[in-house]
């Protein structure tokens, strides 16, 4: 049988994502891809994958997955969540594990990912990757279009997501130390492209306001709830292209920050655009969290981008082999039937 992860329960919205489809926006194909590309990179790094390999993006409430391979090594990175490993799906009790680490699991073992805290998304990468045929150069799921990822949709109970490997490398598991995967309360943004649709006072007011991530926010965009922004000359523009992080202001004045699954074009004026370095932190914001925007120049944005790339280059240096706890050591000794031998040797 083909190695797979069996979905026992799918969670709220679990999709397969990588870095998305680049170069097809002129055909009307959205870029898509992971909301938090740093979290995705971190999960991949923990299992030794290439940074852009497709992983599960888990939003708000996690799935329960059973390993249907001789071995599989999973890594979880991103928001906090209660993670529990059960020896099989009927077991009453399981052991809790920490996040931001890899873990080797064996056939039949079950991992349950609970509610996410301090963030909207986390990523589950598997060593060697999922065996998913890319569509238009990417394995990312575009749910609105019904293509990519697993059958063009979020995971459902019963799905068996195929894995590339049936066995994994013999080595210690790893953990991440000191990588910031938190949402950020302050997002940097450059004014425009349609700054001329708003009076200067209105732009100032936008940067002074505090917003909440509203209901209806999803992979396409964050609906901000807070001070309404008034247009100075109408809210219908001739449709133009939409950059990632664009903050568009529709007729009701409540801004929408456009994210990975945004459509390629749209017809509302955009007051400002979040800078590229802050997009992953933006993608982590969960409904109800508060945020505000601070105005930066193109030069400041470039400096931030440089720092961001340096941070990405440093991810591997923040990964170290996991130190075993006493319980795990005892468990391993028991598993390998070494304890008796040890005692006998003493006797």
């Amino acid at each position: 049988m083909k190695p797979a992860l069996r979905v026992l329960s799918p969670g709220l919205m679990t999709t397969i994502q990588d870095f998305g489809r680049v170069g097809l926006q002129h055909l009307g194909v959205p870029v898509g891809g992971a909301l938090d590309t740093v979290g995705l990179r971190a999960a991949n790094a923990l299992v030794g994958n290439q940074p852009n390999m497709a992983a599960l993006e888990v939003a708000y409430f996690g799935p329960t997955l059973r390993v249907e391979a001789d071995e599989a090594r999973l890594a979880i990175a991103g928001a906090d969540a209660e993670l529990t490993v059960f020896p099989d799906e009927t077991a009453a009790g399981g052991r809790r594990i920490a996040g931001n680490r890899s873990i080797k699991l064996c056939r039949g073992e079950v991992i349950r990912i609970g509610s996410l805290e301090r963030g909207a998304v986390l990523y589950v990468a598997v060593e060697g990757g999922f065996d998913i045929t890319p569509v238009m150069g990417s394995a990312s799921t575009y749910v609105r279009g019904g293509f990519g990822g697993w059958q063009g949709r979020a995971l459902a109970a019963g799905d068996g997501i195929p894995l590339c490997r049936n066995q994994v490398a013999e080595r210690a598991d790893r953990e991440l130390d000191g990588l910031d995967l938190r949402p950020r309360k302050v997002i940097r943004a450059i004014v425009g492209p349609q700054a001329d649709y708003f009076r200067d006072e209105e732009i100032d007011a936008f940067f002074q306001a505090e917003y909440a991530v509203g209901h209806g926010s999803d992979r396409m965009g964050i609906r901000l709830s807070g001070r309404a922004i008034r247009h100075s000359r109408g809210f219908d523009i001739v449709s133009d292209a939409i950059a990632p992080g664009a903050i568009q202001v529709p007729g009701n004045g409540q801004p929408i920050v456009l994210l990975a699954d945004r459509q390629t074009t749209g017809g509302y004026p955009k007051i400002a655009t979040a800078i590229s370095a802050d997009l992953p932190a933006l993608g982590r914001l969960a409904v109800g969290m508060r945020l505000s925007f601070v105005r930066v120049t193109m030069e400041q944005a470039q400096a931030a981008r440089r720092a961001h790339i340096a941070m990405l280059d440093g991810i591997n240096a923040k990964i170290r082999p996991r130190a075993c706890t006493i319980e795990e050591l005892t468990q391993r000794l028991n598993d390998n039937n070494l304890v008796d031998g040890f005692i006998e040797a003493i006797a």
Binding site: H26, G28, V191, P193, G245, T273, A301, Q302
Partner: protein
């Protein structure tokens, strides 16, 4: 006539805007710049997205600064427009049967026309493809005769079927996939606008010319049935689910 605005869209994209309205001259300048940039193969540009009156240029500011990109654009927009390749002309099949065109009667009534007159105006006009966007392969065709101009519907529909042909303002569109839609449905086309597999390809490209050829309901249904059979390119590999095209 060389005027254009450069508008920042974050630190990794610039909008080069040639005008405020929708007209073929402005759109021609957008498409000309897109072609010049394609030919110039400038390092640091990742993709360009032409729309009605502006071109979005995605770039990496650490490879190519916004200033040098703007300078290159300035030089390229000064160059003569590329010799227009013979525009591709398409005749796309359409059926105006009332069962397939939920808003035909209402739209006609609002325009003081009979449904047949609306269909005739719609199918005797030659359209320019301004841009692709909103959905994969979706082309915005203009200009509608002024007699057919209507604002969008007040209540958008939650879902319209793939292939629906609709009008709103000065545009007409074939919607390539099932989608929510606020336009007026006046017909249905059995043609497939987008092929995701094996290589993503849109039937129409900006700059193309399109005319609609009316079909009887039977011809339409036959073509649709046949299309299902020959639409192999739209079937994704085993695990995938084809796009609703």
């Amino acid at each position: 006539m060389n005027g254009f605005k450069v508008l920042p869209a974050g630190d990794t994209a610039l909008v080069i805007e040639f005008g405020e309205g929708i007209d073929q001259h402005t759109n021609g300048r957008v498409l000309a710049l897109a072609q010049h940039l394609r030919e110039a193969k400038i390092e640091g540009i990742s993709e360009t997205v032409p729309t009605f009156r502006s071109l979005m240029i995605y770039f990496d500011p650490l490879v190519l600064s916004a200033e040098s990109l703007t300078q290159r654009v300035s030089v390229l927009t000064g160059e003569p427009q590329p010799v227009e390749q013979a525009a591709r002309h398409w005749h796309l099949p359409i059926c105006y049967d009332s069962e397939l065109a939920l808003d035909l009667e209402e739209a006609a009534a609002r325009l003081d026309l009979s449904p047949a007159q609306l269909a005739e105006y719609h199918s005797t006009t030659s359209y320019h493809v301004y841009m692709l966007g909103f959905l994969p392969g979706q082309a915005y065709l203009g200009d509608l005769p002024p007699d057919l101009a209507l604002p969008r519907r007040e209540m958008p529909r939650q879902r319209i079927p793939a292939g629906s042909v609709a009008i709103a303002m000065s545009m007409t569109c074939i919607f390539p996939m099932d989608t929510p839609c606020g336009w007026h449905l006046i017909g249905h086309s059995p043609v497939s606008l987008f092929q995701p597999w094996p290589d993503p390809r849109a039937l129409l490209a900006p700059g193309d010319k399109v005319k609609f050829t009316p079909l009887s309901r039977r011809e339409h249904d036959d073509l649709l049935a046949r299309n299902d059979d020959v639409a192999l390119p739209f079937d994704l590999p085993a695990q995938g689910q084809g796009m609703a095209l």
